[in-house]
Symmetry: D2
Subunit: 144 residues, 4 copies
Amino acid sequence: MDLLMDRDALAAFLQRDFAEVAADFTVDRAEMDGVDLRLHVGAGHLRPGGTVSGPSIFALADVALYLAILSRIGPVALAVTTNASVDFMRKPSAGSDLIGKARLLKLGKTLAVGDVLVFSDGVTDPVARAGLTYAIPPRRLDGT
Amino acid sequence: MDLLMDRDALAAFLQRDFAEVAADFTVDRAEMDGVDLRLHVGAGHLRPGGTVSGPSIFALADVALYLAILSRIGPVALAVTTNASVDFMRKPSAGSDLIGKARLLKLGKTLAVGDVLVFSDGVTDPVARAGLTYAIPPRRLDGT
Amino acid sequence: MDLLMDRDALAAFLQRDFAEVAADFTVDRAEMDGVDLRLHVGAGHLRPGGTVSGPSIFALADVALYLAILSRIGPVALAVTTNASVDFMRKPSAGSDLIGKARLLKLGKTLAVGDVLVFSDGVTDPVARAGLTYAIPPRRLDGT
Amino acid sequence: MDLLMDRDALAAFLQRDFAEVAADFTVDRAEMDGVDLRLHVGAGHLRPGGTVSGPSIFALADVALYLAILSRIGPVALAVTTNASVDFMRKPSAGSDLIGKARLLKLGKTLAVGDVLVFSDGVTDPVARAGLTYAIPPRRLDGT
C-alpha cells in the first residue's frame, strides 16, 4: 500500500481546508509509518509561566493523527474525532516548537485509531502522549 | 466543608491569572456539587462547517474542572492537568454557547479527579464528556 | 421511549450469554436513566492487601454499560467495546460488594457512549469512574 | 541507568506477590526500553465466541507496565494504577497467547506513565493499545 497523500499534498490540504490554523503547523514528515507535525509555538499557544497550553498540545495531536489518516485514505472522507485520551507528562521547553509524531494503529471501515507522542523540538523525553479514535463516514459510491 | 472561592472569586481569578482566555468564559454557577462554565463561542473557536473545534471543547472542560478544584482548595496551589480523556459525541449547535458542567469526584492530597459534561446551551443531549486528573503540588508550610 | 429489556430480561440475558461470569453479578436496577450492577466480590476478585483488582473493576464497568445499551436496543445486536478510560480513585472497602452505576450518554447508529461510577456498597465517595464506547454492528434487515 | 530487576527477578516477584495470577503470565523480555509480557490464554480468559475478554486484555496491559516500572525502581514501592485508557482495535486470534509490549514514558517522583501495545502472538497488527498512569508512593527514608 502506498500513501495517497504525501507531505506536500497534506500541506496543501491544511492550507485549503484548515486555513484558520494552517499557519501554526508544518508537516515535517509523512511516510507509511506515520506523520510528524510541527507546531510553531507562538504567544497564542502559551499559558501563564510560558508553558504551552493543554488545548494547543491537544490540537497538535489531533491534527497530526488526522493527517496520518488522510495520508492513507485521501482527502475524500471527513473523519471526526470521537475519543481522545491525553497524558501530559512534562512541561514543554520554553521557546521550542513542539513535534507530534503520529502513528496509525488501525484503519478500519468505520473507525481509525492511532497514537501520538509529542516532543519539544530536540528533546528526547516526550511532553505528552495521546491516543485518538476517529469515525470515518461511509464512502459514497461515486467516490466523492 | 464550604467553598473557598465562589463564583465572583473564580471570575476574578480568571481575569487576573488567565487574562489571555478570560474573555472567552463566564462562570455561570459555582456550588459544592460543581461548577458550570460557559464558553462564549466566537469565530476563533470554529472549524470548517461551523462546528466548535475539539481544542475549544477540550479547553472548556479543562478550565471548568480546574475552577471546580480551585473553588475547594483556593487559589494557592497550581494544579497541573496530567490526564484528560474526552468523548466527542455530538456536533455542537451552530451559533450556541457551550456549557461545561464539572463535578469533582476526588480531591486528594496529590491528585484531583473529576468529570465534565459539555452541552450546547439549551440542548438536553450532551456534546462531549471528559474525565480529567490534576496533580496538586505539595502545599508549602507558609501557606503560599 | 421505553426499555426494551428490564431488570429480569437483563438478568436472564447474563445467565444465558455470559454464563461464565453471570454468578458474579446482580442487576440491582434498570431504568431509562441507567443500570445499576452489583459485583459480588469474592476471593477471585482480590489483589494482595485485600483490595479488589483493577480488572474486576473494569469488568464491572464494562458489563454495566453493556447492559444499559441492551436495555435500550434489545439483545439482537452484539456491541463491542472499542474504548474504555478508567480513573481509579479510592481503594474499595474490604469485604463490600461493588456497585457500578451506568448511564448512557449517546446511543447512535454505530457508536454508543456512556459512563459508570463505581461505589463500594454503602459508601458515598466513588471508587472509580469509567467512560466507555461501544461499536454497534449494523442491524440486519430481518431483525435478527 | 541499569535495570534494578531483570526478567528473572520480575518473574520471581510475580510468583511471590501475585501468586493468584502468576501462572497466567510469562515475562518474555525485560530491557531498558520496556517489558514484554505473555498472557497464556486459557478458558478463563475467553468470552462467548472464543475471543479474549476485555478484562483479561486490561489485566495484561496493567501487569506489563507495572513490571516495567518495577524493573526500574525495584520491588520496594507499591505503585497503584490511577488511570487506564484502552483502545480495543481487533479481535484477538483464537487459540493464541497475547503479548503486551510495555514502554515506560515517564518515571517521575510521584507519577509513572507508559503505554502498552497488545498483540496476538505472531500477528503484526495490534489487538489493543493502552495508556496507563501509576501513583508511586513516597519512598521511606529507611529504604523499605
